[in-house]
């Protein structure tokens, strides 16, 4: 004898089970990319075998991200973290790792990939002291603006993809081969096109373009920030004006995620062109992927040079 209650109870359980079973399982390899450039590189190398979550956008300062609930949920689901490393994410990534309950992406696991481990870093500080601002003890972490660094990170990343998803190892290897040769060609083209930029004297807002400046042989005259991570005061800006008369520059520069006010103020008074660079994929409407990121950065600098 079945009671009507029992029947409906069973029906409910079966319905719930059916619903759970019909939920899309995470079929593809789940990648958590801390910054848009690593999401773009993961896409180049992983193709349709990976599903990518970009934790930040080009409009956000990667130093100052909140460990939001949504980021924890996505860290929980990740098979592979792809980040800059070198303490760029020190203010938020540790919280994500500690609270996510995901063993696959902890430090030292194959699922933990820090791109800056594979490049030669600039600005290794000889003294680590916060009197110098928010100094990164492992060198400048904004490595993505030298395309050769992206190339250097691509190979180990493709190997890492193959390691965490061995079933598709051949696929990742083929994608890397293809990307590697296209990327090398692109670098040669950019270098040729950017040749006139050599020696261009720039005043960037933050020390986040040193790799671009180093790559193209440009010169960083000074920064708008008095110290890394310290916003400029009005007094500091007027000091900069004086300094700029002694150390002439060609252009003032800031990144998409930074407040344009200080750069605009300086530009107005010095009559120097003010360039906004995308900094990463998505920073400008033109910078849609890794290729257009460099196309657009070079275009904008060339325009300022005129």
């Amino acid at each position: 004898m079945k009671s009507p209650h029992m029947t409906s109870g069973f029906k409910l359980i079966i319905a719930v089970l059916a619903l759970v079973a019909s939920l899309p399982a995470y079929a593809a390899l789940e990648i958590f990319a801390c910054e848009p450039e690593w999401a773009a590189l993961s896409k180049e190398l992983g193709g349709d075998k990976v599903s990518i979550y970009a934790a930040t956008t080009a409009k956000q300062d990667p130093h100052r991200i909140e460990a939001r609930p949504s980021l924890i949920a996505h860290t929980r689901a990740a098979d592979l973290l792809v980040c800059s490393g070198s303490e760029l994410e020190v203010g938020w990534l540790p919280v994500l790792l500690q609270t996510s309950g995901n063993d696959k992406v902890q430090v030292g696991k194959p699922g933990y990939f820090m791109a800056s481990d594979f490049v030669r870093k600039l600005e290794l500080p000889s003294a680590v002291d916060r009197a110098h601002g928010d100094v990164h003890p492992y060198g400048n972490p904004h490595i993505q603006l030298d395309p050769r660094n992206i190339g250097r990170a691509a190979k180990p990343l493709s190997e890492r993809l193959a390691q965490v998803d061995p079933a598709n190892a051949a696929y990742y290897q083929a994608r890397y081969k293809d990307f590697g040769s296209r990327w090398e060609k692109a670098i040669a083209e950019w270098e040729q096109r950017a040749a006139p930029l050599k020696g261009l004297r720039l005043v960037p807002y933050h020390k986040d373009s040193v790799y671009l400046i180093d790559w193209l042989g440009m010169v960083e005259v000074m920064n708008i920030e008095p110290k890394p991570g310290i916003p400029p005061s009005a007094g500091h800006l007027s000091d900069l004006l004086t300094k700029l008369t002694q150390q002439p520059a060609d252009a003032i520069m800031y990144s998409a995620y930074q407040d344009p006010k200080a750069a605009g103020w300086l530009g107005e008074r010095t009559k120097l062109p003010v360039v906004m660079l995308p900094y990463t994929v998505g920073g400008t409407p033109e910078a849609k992927d890794l290729y257009s990121l460099f196309d657009d950065s070079i275009n904008r600098l060339l325009k300022a040079k005129k």
């Binding site: 995470y26 930040t56 956008t57 409009k59 956000q60 300062d61 100052r64 909140e66 460990a67 939001r68 609930p69 949504s70 924890i72 949920a73 996505h74 929980r76 689901a77 303490e87 020190v90 203010g91 938020w92 990534l93 540790p94 919280v95 790792l97 500690q98 609270t99 996510s100 309950g101 995901n102 063993d103 696959k104 902890q106 430090v107 030292g108 481990d117 594979f118 490049v119 030669r120 870093k121 290794l124 916060r130 601002g133 928010d134 492992y138 060198g139 190979k155 180990p156 190997e159 110290k227 991570g229 310290i230 916003p231 995620y257 407040d259």
Partner: protein
């Protein structure tokens, strides 16, 4: 270590190459080949790269049969390339200090100005005088916090936060937690801030005001610490869902340890949180929790007695049950909080505690019986960062003395009723943070938490953070 070896080998190789270039003898090249063969077991990609360079160098060495100087320069170049390739290895810290835990130090203190003597301040119906944790008037040194943390090994992470306060050093938190359970599970054991509510697990230096909300202070004692275990689980969903439970022994007021020398759990909690983003600029977190504590201490919590006359003894507290809801909303344009951002926090808590009361009313004899107090409290606060270094905030909180359920033994006891008073406090603050590591705050409280008097409180406070870069929770 391995990278060092590779670097050393690279330099040796490059030097050998230079020598080979000069001498143009094959035995040395043979030697190098042998070394490479030995290294092959490591099967590192870098070795392969070096091998390729060696082959290149060999080629140039062959060519150099005619021009020795050319070979020399090729070898030097190979050496430079090898060194450049290995440069990252040289940047890694190599001493045993590299394994030291991250160390951070928080300095706090300031100046406190109040119209009432802090030693006599109480929260009517909730906390007796002396339990409010107010600083002395004038200059004061706040809690100095030292935190050490590191991964213990491949399975565990450990952290200790020691607080130094008026000459006492205490373990604020000292716990280890798992990193390798997977499937969203994390286990924690030791002494830790309970996961209930929102404010409770925030360290003092991370508060948005110099003091905590009335309800937090009265029901959980700033930060409810637990000596015990915690398990939490994050659901495998894009929406953040966390479920957690704790069991152990509560530490300090309002759940003192003095009489918790007993087997089993003295406190157990359950909590759940749900959170996510709305677009790129908004995010939220809502939580619900419940706590049950065996409160075997004789005189705790006695705060409510203040303002009620005639109570001679509040004996052997029974269970304390707490439950609460919390809500956090944060906004930042485009999700970038550097220039401007806003956060809103609201919490509500309810407390119900049982005890046995001996009541000496006017007249002969006493009455004794069971007693349950049902109380609640809430606060709301908003903090707006209007400039990169400047934030302003407002907070309002109040407590509701609720009702007393009297057992048969106390029925009709005259005067045994909640004081007809609602403790309230309004706070306004302005703080300046010249960098991520320093903050200076001015705060004003209009404190009406004690019946009959208003205390105008002014804090001038500093919070400095030295050492390891702190990573804060949402």
């Amino acid at each position: 270590m391995f990278k060092q070896t590779v670097l050393a080998v690279a330099i040796v190789l490059a030097m050998a190459l230079a020598a080979a270039g000069r001498a143009q003898t094959s035995p040395q090249l043979e030697d190098i080949r042998k070394q490479i063969q030995e290294l092959k077991d490591g099967s590192d990609a870098r070795i392969q790269a070096l091998e390729k360079q060696l082959k290149d160098a060999e080629a140039s060495t062959a060519k150099a049969q005619a021009a020795a100087s050319e070979a020399q320069s090729a070898a030097t170049q190979a050496k430079q390339t090898a060194e450049a390739k290995q440069a990252p290895a040289a940047t890694q810290p190599t001493s045993s200090n590299a394994f030291n835990p991250a160390l951070s130090l928080i300095l706090q203190g300031g100046y406190y100005n109040a119209s009432q003597d802090p030693n006599t301040r109480s929260i009517t119906g909730f906390l007796p005088a002396g339990e409010l944790g107010l600083p002395e008037r004038g200059f004061y040194l706040g809690e100095t916090e030292i935190t050490l943390s590191a991964n213990v090994d491949h399975l565990f992470y450990g952290q200790a936060t020691l607080s130094i306060d008026n000459g006492n050093i205490g373990a604020e938190e000292a716990f280890f937690q798992t990193t390798s359970l997977g499937h969203g599970f994390t286990g924690k054991a030791g002494r830790f801030f309970s996961g209930v509510g929102y404010e409770n697990s925030q360290h003092q230096h991370n508060w948005d005001f110099a003091d905590d909300a009335l309800v937090q202070q009265s029901f959980l004692g700033s930060n409810l610490k637990v000596d015990g275990v915690q398990v939490s689980w994050i659901a495998p969903t894009p929406l953040y869902l966390e479920l957690g439970a704790e069991g152990g022994k509560p530490v300090e007021f309002p759940f003192p340890t003095s009489d918790h020398n007993a087997n089993g759990l003295q406190v157990a909690t359950l909590f759940a949180r749900l959170g996510g983003d709305i677009g790129v600029s908004n995010s939220y977190l809502v939580g619900a929790w419940a706590l049950q504590a065996k409160n075997s201490a004789v005189d705790q919590p006695v705060g409510f007695v203040d303002g009620v006359t005639g109570v001679s003894n509040l004996a052997n507290g029974g269970n304390t049950k707490l439950w609460g809801l919390d809500f956090v909303y944060k906004w930042a344009p485009e999700g970038d909080r550097v220039d401007r951002n806003f956060k809103f926090i609201a919490e509500w808590m309810h407390r119900s505690f049982d005890s046995t009361l001996t009541y000496a009313a006017a007249g002969p004899g006493t009455q004794s019986g069971d007693f349950t107090a049902n109380q609640s409290g809430w606060f709301v606060q908003g903090i707006y960062q209007f400039e990169p270094a400047w934030r302003a905030g407002l907070r309002y909180g109040q407590l509701d003395e609720g009702s007393y359920d009297l057992g048969p033994g106390l029925a009709g006891a005259p005067g045994l009723a909640p004081p007809d008073f609602t403790p309230k406090r309004v706070s306004a603050m302005l703080d300046w943070s010249p960098s991520e590591f320093s903050r200076f705050r001015l705060q004003y409280n209009q404190d009406n938490s004690q019946t009959g008097t208003t205390d105008n409180q002014i804090y001038l406070q500093y919070i400095l953070s030295l050492g390891a870069h702190g990573a804060h929770k949402f």
